[in-house]
């Protein structure tokens, strides 16, 4: 692990040159995998994340089927080569099981699960390269992948982290800010109604800081939502072939 930088904010700018309320460079692409029903690829700064959606399809084992609604299954997984310092041990860990669960809970409120009784929708999120904020980028990718797969949804889900470094509220933390900052709070939002479907927190905020952080997160999610819409529109208008 590298040394802690002396200061994380110099002259009001962050180490990577961003303003406190600025996102890292964001790229979203829909429909990148041929075999999946829906897929998306997201790059947010150093994060590279692939999401694939399968279904709705028949749910096996059958005793897990829910008679009146579909089931949403999510798997968040980090590739062994996704982190810098050492090879990550492959396979599920305590951390990835938790992230899978909160991802599922962040996505569930938007999906019309009751339209597909007994079926299952599988969402796979693969982190190819990690650089802080992978769970939020994973949710962003998964939501685009579900829309790309034609799964009926009430809204997209946009997600970003906010935090506090050197006493300043910042948007979309990078690796150093995540490791050495004072607080980190991933947020997922349903942009249409501004409802929050994921909120976790690590560190401390005062109530006033918390309010500021939420507001900054909402702004960030709105920017991400625009990029998500653009990605979907781009894929399909390319398919429309200049109509």
């Amino acid at each position: 692990m590298e040394e802690k930088p002396e200061k994380l904010i110099v002259n009001g700018k962050r180490l990577d040159g961003r303003e406190p309320g600025e996102l890292r460079p964001l790229k979203i692409q829909a429909g990148v995998l041929k075999r999946a029903d829906g897929s998306a690829y997201v790059e947010l700064g150093g994060n590279k994340i692939l999401a694939a959606v399968y279904g709705p399809r028949e749910f096996h084992p059958r005793h897990l089927q829910q008679p009146t609604t579909a089931t949403l299954r999510c798997r968040y997984n980090m590739a062994p080569f996704s982190v810098s310092d050492e090879r990550k041990r492959p396979g599920p860990s305590r951390r990835s099981i938790e992230i899978s669960k909160v991802t599922r809970e962040a996505l569930e409120p938007v999906v019309f699960l009751e339209q597909y009784p007994r079926a299952v929708i599988d969402v796979f999120i693969e982190v190819l390269q990690a650089d802080a904020g992978t769970r939020t980028a994973g949710i962003t990718a998964a939501s685009v992948a579900m829309a790309d797969g034609g799964i009926p949804m009430r809204d997209l889900v946009a997600s970003v982290a906010v935090g506090k470094v050197d006493g300043t509220i910042v948007l979309d933390l990078n690796k150093y800010e995540d490791q050495y900052g004072e607080a980190d709070m991933p947020i997922a939002m349903l942009p249409r109604k501004k409802e929050i479907s994921l909120m976790q927190m690590d560190g401390n905020f005062t109530p006033e800081e918390f309010r500021q952080a939420i507001e900054l997160a909402i702004l960030g999610c709105e920017k991400i939502y625009e990029a998500q819409r653009e990605a979907l529109e781009k894929k399909y208008s390319a398919n429309l072939g200049g109509e």
Binding site: F112, P117, R192, S237
Partner: protein, 229 residues
């Protein structure tokens, strides 16, 4: 009040209209506002609004004609895969159109696992148990041909407005087609080369489903493929 133009591309959660409209597929209501639930193109006919989906799985509806593949047989019928999250049940009496005495007849005479069957969805209950029938003329086992699977969202384009595309495909090639709403198309004919040309044409329709003047381009493609033997 409409918020979008006709044929405009919408994404899930996008405001389509406000007020009294009749909702078709791909839309949901929240108070007075009407939102899209899928990625698709808005279609407006008078007070009726719907979103034509560009992707998505087939979900059985009563009255649909689909091509199923037998995956299992049981004492009084068969279970069919419908290229959907749900399988369908076909009773022997609904295939043969008569009473069947199971102690005297061997059902494997009629259908076996792997057979393709052209069936009609008879009923779908609230738990999505699908029952099928195939006792009308033209239904039942498809004995030969090539089975093509494309996205079920593209099937309306294979049929065309008033059947224009499908009659063109059959007319130009002399092959016969059976189109299932679930995205499966069976093609058969005397000349294998023509059958293969139709298969390619179907894949072309799937790729270019939302372009205009598609029927003419497919006709051109087919004539070139069949003409240049």
């Amino acid at each position: 009040m409409l918020n979008v133009k006709r044929r405009e591309l919408v994404v899930p959660g996008e405001l389509v209209a406000e007020g009294d409209y009749l909702l078709g597929e791909g839309l949901f209501r929240d108070g007075r506002e009407i939102y899209s639930s899928v990625v698709g193109l808005v279609d407006i006919r008078g007070r009726k609004v719907r979103v034509i989906p560009l992707q998505g799985r087939y979900v059985p509806k009563p009255g649909d004609k689909v091509i199923g593949i037998v995956i299992d047989a049981f004492y009084y019928g068969w279970i069919l895969d419908l290229n959907s999250p749900y399988t369908g049940t076909l009773f022997a009496s609904d295939l043969l159109g008569r009473k069947v005495d199971f102690s005297r007849e061997d059902l494997s005479e009629y259908l076996e696992a792997g057979d393709a069957v052209f069936v009609k969805v008879k009923e779908v209950d609230e738990l999505m148990h699908v029952s099928l029938e195939a006792d009308k003329w033209g239904m039942g086992k498809l004995k030969r041909g090539k089975l093509v699977e494309i996205s079920s969202a593209k099937i309306p384009r294979v049929i065309g407005r008033g059947g224009s595309m499908i009659s063109m495909l059959q007319g130009v090639s002399g092959c016969r087609l059976r189109v299932g709403q679930n995205g499966r198309v069976m093609v058969w004919g005397r000349d294998l080369k023509r059958v293969n040309a139709i298969v390619e044409a179907l894949l072309m329709i799937e790729r270019e489903a939302h372009t205009t003047g598609l029927t003419d381009r497919v006709r051109e493609f087919l004539e070139k493929r069949i003409g240049g033997k």
